[in-house]
């Protein structure tokens, strides 16, 4: 009963704004991707030393990100994802 109530309330809370929050989160993630790959695209980034090890982790999302940013093909010469 308690669990069912919690599920119903959670769904009642989340459903109308699920899309808006997911989009806001994606916008933040997109900005973070820019920080991580900035140096590789010729944009100086003082935090490169710290973000370097994240690059392989985020590569899976790279294709979706650059197409979302309006770049039809990968902007990195040495990484042709498409």
């Amino acid at each position: 009963m308690w669990v069912r109530l919690r599920t119903l309330l959670s769904e009642f809370y989340a459903a109308p704004y699920r899309g808006a929050i997911a989009r806001a989160r994606r916008d933040e993630d997109d900005l973070f991707m820019l920080f991580v790959y900035a140096e590789l695209m010729g944009v100086p980034n003082p935090a490169t030393y710290y973000t370097l090890e994240l690059q392989p982790v985020l590569l899976e999302r790279f294709h979706d990100w650059h197409t979302r940013m309006g770049l039809e093909h990968s902007p990195l010469d040495h990484f042709r994802c498409c």
Binding site: E11, F12, Y17, R18
Partner: protein, 544 residues
């Protein structure tokens, strides 16, 4: 009765719902916008999204003509107009990849009609923000004990947002504690009523509240959705269900006597004619174009089965009709004598929420034994929160529209969130003050205009559904008759108001009204043109 029989007929014979049809929530599932959702939950937030302050204000004003016309329009409007409209908007959307009615208008009717749709939506948002700011301001002045509880809701909402989103606390306890706090601060409000100074820089308390409210709405619309808008909507939804339960419970126990006349033979001077103004004074609660936007914008993306459209859409409008009915009961049976009622209803268009709050408080006090002051504050807070949440969302939507215009016409400053918010808030302030002078009463003056615009939007949505039905070779009279009726009522109302505003010398609103008259004419022309085209096609198909 409407749900049990009429909506069943519409579902089976007209919209022909198919339980096997793959809804966009399944075919386009992305777990963001397109998510199959339990129909009870979906009904809950469809209902709370469409039910706001409007079904309280409209009936509160319209009973000036007597309780019977308002009662009949709410009952039959909900059954034969709103239900079919809301249900139809969801059905049309899910049959077209969950596209919004605005987007469908471009394809089904014409691109001109789509532009018209966008203009009507902008006018509607502008008016809804101005109207609700004035309604809240009036309520804060009439019930100063509601000020602290109403603003406390903002802090409770932010606390719930932080607990859920940042601290990942399970939802049940924050909900229970937040709701208890909301009701507990009502006592605090009674102990510390808040009234603004009689004059600051030449502005009375009303305009001061309006400025504060728009400043708040501007800031709120810039905050992240999870921090304020989402939890505020949520606790408002909870409050709506509790409030409806309290009021209907009190009505059943107290069985109050309706003191207002069935048809008022002594309507105050300067009250406009019942026909057609009743049909625009009560928009939400009988039929409202805004519901089509909600139904086709978000609800249709989350529908699990096509057959759920009947439960969610039709029953959603029945829920709003129930809110309008309780507002009518409060405004007609919540007064001790006919003389009290007549003393309260001395002018058209000035009561609205006050009638609901005063009358409802008396019924709640008689029925449930609540102290009158507490009940009055409780209902005032309920009405203020509804209007406040709509303002939050309305200013945010207007900001999006202004930013979109900035992108379309390449006007860089308008693309900036702060500038767009300032433009949106500024436009509402111009309307609130420009229409009614420094008293800031413009919002209430435009209430019938707001209803007119809302009905025009409903007419456009019904037009889209009717054209789709003609294309499918199904009977269209069940949507066509309501479409002709609401558009005609909106048009005649706009003409009557045009004359009234002109003779009153309110040229600012004359221009506004002219826009609505022109929009009505275009809706009628577009409707005729779309039908003739589809009929010709059908005749050609039959001949060839």
């Amino acid at each position: 009765m409407g749900y049990r029989f009429y909506s069943k007929f519409i579902a089976e014979k007209i919209y022909q719902l198919d339980p096997e049809f793959k809804t966009p929530a399944h075919s386009m599932r992305d777990d963001i916008d397109y998510v199959p959702t339990n129909r009870l939950v979906l009904w809950g937030h469809h209902f709370t999204a469409v039910a706001g302050a409007a079904p309280i204000i409209g009936p509160g004003i319209a009973v000036i003509w007597g309780w019977l016309p308002a009662f009949l329009w709410v009952v039959f409007g909900t059954m034969f107009f709103a239900g079919v409209h809301d249900f139809g908007a969801i059905w049309a959307s899910i049959r077209n990849q969950a596209r919004s009615v605005g987007s469908l208008t471009g394809d089904v009717v014409s691109h001109r009609a789509r532009t018209l749709f966008m203009i009507v939506i902008f006018l509607l948002l502008l008016m809804v923000n101005a109207v609700f700011a004035v309604a809240i301001s009036n309520e804060f002045q009439a019930t100063p004990s509601s000020v602290i509880p109403a603003w406390s809701a903002v802090f409770v909402a932010v606390a719930i947002g932080v607990l859920l989103y940042k601290m990942h606390v399970a939802i049940t306890w924050p909900t229970i504690i937040g709701t208890v706090i909301l009701y507990a601060v009502i006592y605090l409000g009674e102990l510390v009523p808040v009234a603004l100074p009689n004059e600051i820089l030449g502005l009375g308390p009303g305009p001061q509240w309006i400025l504060i409210l728009f400043f708040y709405a501007g800031v709120a619309s810039m905050l992240p959705v999870w921090l304020l808008l989402q939890p505020r909507d949520y606790i408002n939804g909870i409050q709506l269900f509790i409030g409806l339960g309290v009021l209907y419970g009190a009505v059943l126990i107290a069985s109050p006597t309706v003191v207002a006349p069935a048809i008022n033979p002594n309507v105050p001077a300067a009250t406009p004619p019942l026909m057609p103004l009743l049909f625009v004074t009560i928009a939400c609660g009988a039929i409202s174009g805004f519901h089509g936007l909600v139904g086709s914008g978000t609800t249709s993306k989350q529908l699990n089965l096509e057959t759920d459209a009947r439960f969610v859409g039709y029953l959603g409008s029945v829920g709003e009709g129930a809110l309008a009915l309780v507002a009518i009961i409060a405004a007609t049976a919540g007064f001790a004598t006919l003389a009290d009622w007549e003393a309260f209803y001395q002018t058209y268009n000035t009561q609205g929420t006050s009638a609901f709050v005063l009358g409802g408080a008396r019924i709640a006090a008689d029925g449930l034994g609540l102290p009158f002051g507490f009940a009055q504050t409780l209902l005032a807070v309920m009405a203020v929160l509804f209007a406040g949440t709509t303002m939050d969302a309305g200013v945010r939507l207007q900001r999006y529209i202004v930013q979109e215009w900035g992108t379309i016409y390449n006007i860089k400053p308008l693309q900036n969130g702060y500038v767009a918010t300032a433009v949106a808030v500024g436009a509402c302030l111009v309307l609130a003050f420009g229409a009614g002078g420094s008293g800031g009463t413009g919002g209430m003056i435009i209430w019938p205009l707001f209803g007119t615009t809302n009905q025009l939007l409903a007419g456009l949505t019904l037009l889209v559904i009717s054209v789709i039905l003609v294309k499918l070779g199904r009977p269209s009279r069940y949507t066509m008759i309501p479409m002709v009726f609401v558009t005609a009522m909106a048009f005649v109302s706009a003409l009557i108001q045009l004359w009234d505003l002109y003779t009153a010398g309110n040229y600012f609103l004359v221009i506004f009204d002219l826009l609505i008259v022109v929009a009505s004419i275009f809706v009628m022309l577009e409707a005729t043109s779309a039908f003739m085209r589809e009929k010709r096609k059908a005749a050609a198909a039959a001949a060839g």
